[in-house]
Assembly symmetry: C2
Amino acid sequence: MSTMLEVAQKAGVSKATVSRVLSGKGYVSEATKDQVYKAIEEAGYRPNLLARNLATNKSECIGLVVTNTLYNGSYFSEILSQAAKKLEDNGRQLILVDGKHSAQEEREAIQFLLDLRCDAVIIYPRFLTIDEMDEIIDQHKQPIMVVNRKLRKHQSHCICCDHKGSSFLATKYLIERGHNDIAFITGALDSPTAIERLAGYKDALNQYHIGVNEALIVQGKWTPDSGVSAVEALLARQQKVSAILASNDEMAVGAMKKLSDMGISVPHEISLLGFDNIPTAPYLTPALSSIKDPVSDMISEVISRLISMLDGGYLSRDNIFTSQLLERNSVSDGPFKS
Amino acid sequence: MSTMLEVAQKAGVSKATVSRVLSGKGYVSEATKDQVYKAIEEAGYRPNLLARNLATNKSECIGLVVTNTLYNGSYFSEILSQAAKKLEDNGRQLILVDGKHSAQEEREAIQFLLDLRCDAVIIYPRFLTIDEMDEIIDQHKQPIMVVNRKLRKHQSHCICCDHKGSSFLATKYLIERGHNDIAFITGALDSPTAIERLAGYKDALNQYHIGVNEALIVQGKWTPDSGVSAVEALLARQQKVSAILASNDEMAVGAMKKLSDMGISVPHEISLLGFDNIPTAPYLTPALSSIKDPVSDMISEVISRLISMLDGGYLSRDNIFTSQLLERNSVSDGPFKS
DNA sequence: TTGTACGCGTTATCAT
DNA sequence: ATGATAACGCGTACAA
């Protein structure tokens, strides 16, 4: 690992000059510039980012915290893909660290990124509460953006979408197609998203004067397997069911698997809806792709915002993604039979 | 951002003492220890990792480079999940950076990680050649481990598995069930993995004296959509087909979608196999889950090795994962009908 | 047991 | 246009 000093000596100049050549800041003659470049080449020199970042207190990279329980989600790769691509265009590096599985560890992950002097950090939280995050944002100078949670205090530091509204629309869609007995598979209920989607379902039923039948609501855990179990539980309850709305695609896939094992052809005898739009799900039934995954859109938006904060001035929009997503989430018709 | 110096002053001691308290190295009396901790608390002090790493030339974290074209793969989340969990137990941080989409950029990603002084870096390469990687490993002191590629020179720095063998077994499985007209959907042929799987297919056919019919081989691109296209291409060729082997699950899913659109029930009229074992695929047909994804196993193994290199001495096993995987890849029976 | 002083590799502010 | 030199925040011999 050769240092700047070695390069300087090889080139017969001072450290300062080498630094100028590398940064492009300050005047330096073409002649010495060439010498320096040659010396860099010869020495196989690489700037030490730690030293540079220590001196400048910047790092040209932004951090992302995701709890590793979410790594399993099929849409997770989509998130990363989005984020990396967007940042790439901006010349910054995305670095991902694991939020593990507790509020404390999510906190530490954020700290780790900040301790590395990331220019900003994005968190897709799972355990931290809104108030905790508001507090964390207060305590740090670097921008900290929160995805999929509506903060109380720092509204411009978060971005979220209307899960309740989407769920409402999905339910409404089924109702309008003549379904009165719509079962609902929830996500894990420690998740705000799960709760909101459940609320949207209930709202729609109430609004159409159908009424909520608790026996039609079964608790899932976001996984395909829990979708299978959910259908089993549903059957055990002996309820009449003409449609099932699952809180995400993976559970919908599991549910469909179970139904199909029992000889029930999904697109015909029963309607089945999921959210998210994971890569392989569209091939299961067109109905599944009718609602787009909002998460990657949120990531995309948050990065745009971050970039303009870091590069441009400090404009602080309020979070407004809700209405746009609601619009997009309108359910398409598709070859649906009830 | 308070510094160590501030803490020292608050506690009425020197920087060195604070440093000792934090690191646990060297003697320090309980009394001053308490004072220091109190001062740390009051100041809300956080060690600056850049400074620390710069001074020690270590970082307690290891880097992972994955080309973002692979982010889309459904098994990608599995890789991360594995890696993060394993490292978590070891008290290290995993940081992921994007290898983007060229050899040059993969190179830069590795450099970035090294420049950050990661203790080691793992690369799941897509564009770098074996020789280039051997050279990179030569040039750096930090361990650089390569996944899914067999290096020429640094055999102990890579880990791979026998894609050809797996493919051979899968093909053999179909042959033994009476199939003589087995179509094969390749992956993108710029991928060594794709080529090896194709080779395994051909070997099996030859070994059983069935002979390779080029008209039954159709080129895919790893995606579900390309699986659909592949089946379409196959049909256009008017060949007799009783089974299809796809080079990964996503293409298998696409293929099944197409077949099912045409009214062909997959488990009955035709056999369909994929690799990988992605989360939602098992629900499509049991056949798809018959061959396990080797990638996350490789990652897991490489991390184990890395940990013993970093923590323990420098034992250098040769890469030997092949045989184990071959064993595991044996195809299960499942409700398969030909 | 604690403090001093120097080094880690850069950047940045002065002079020159 | 270029060169000293002081930060940046921390670790660590060495001395006390």
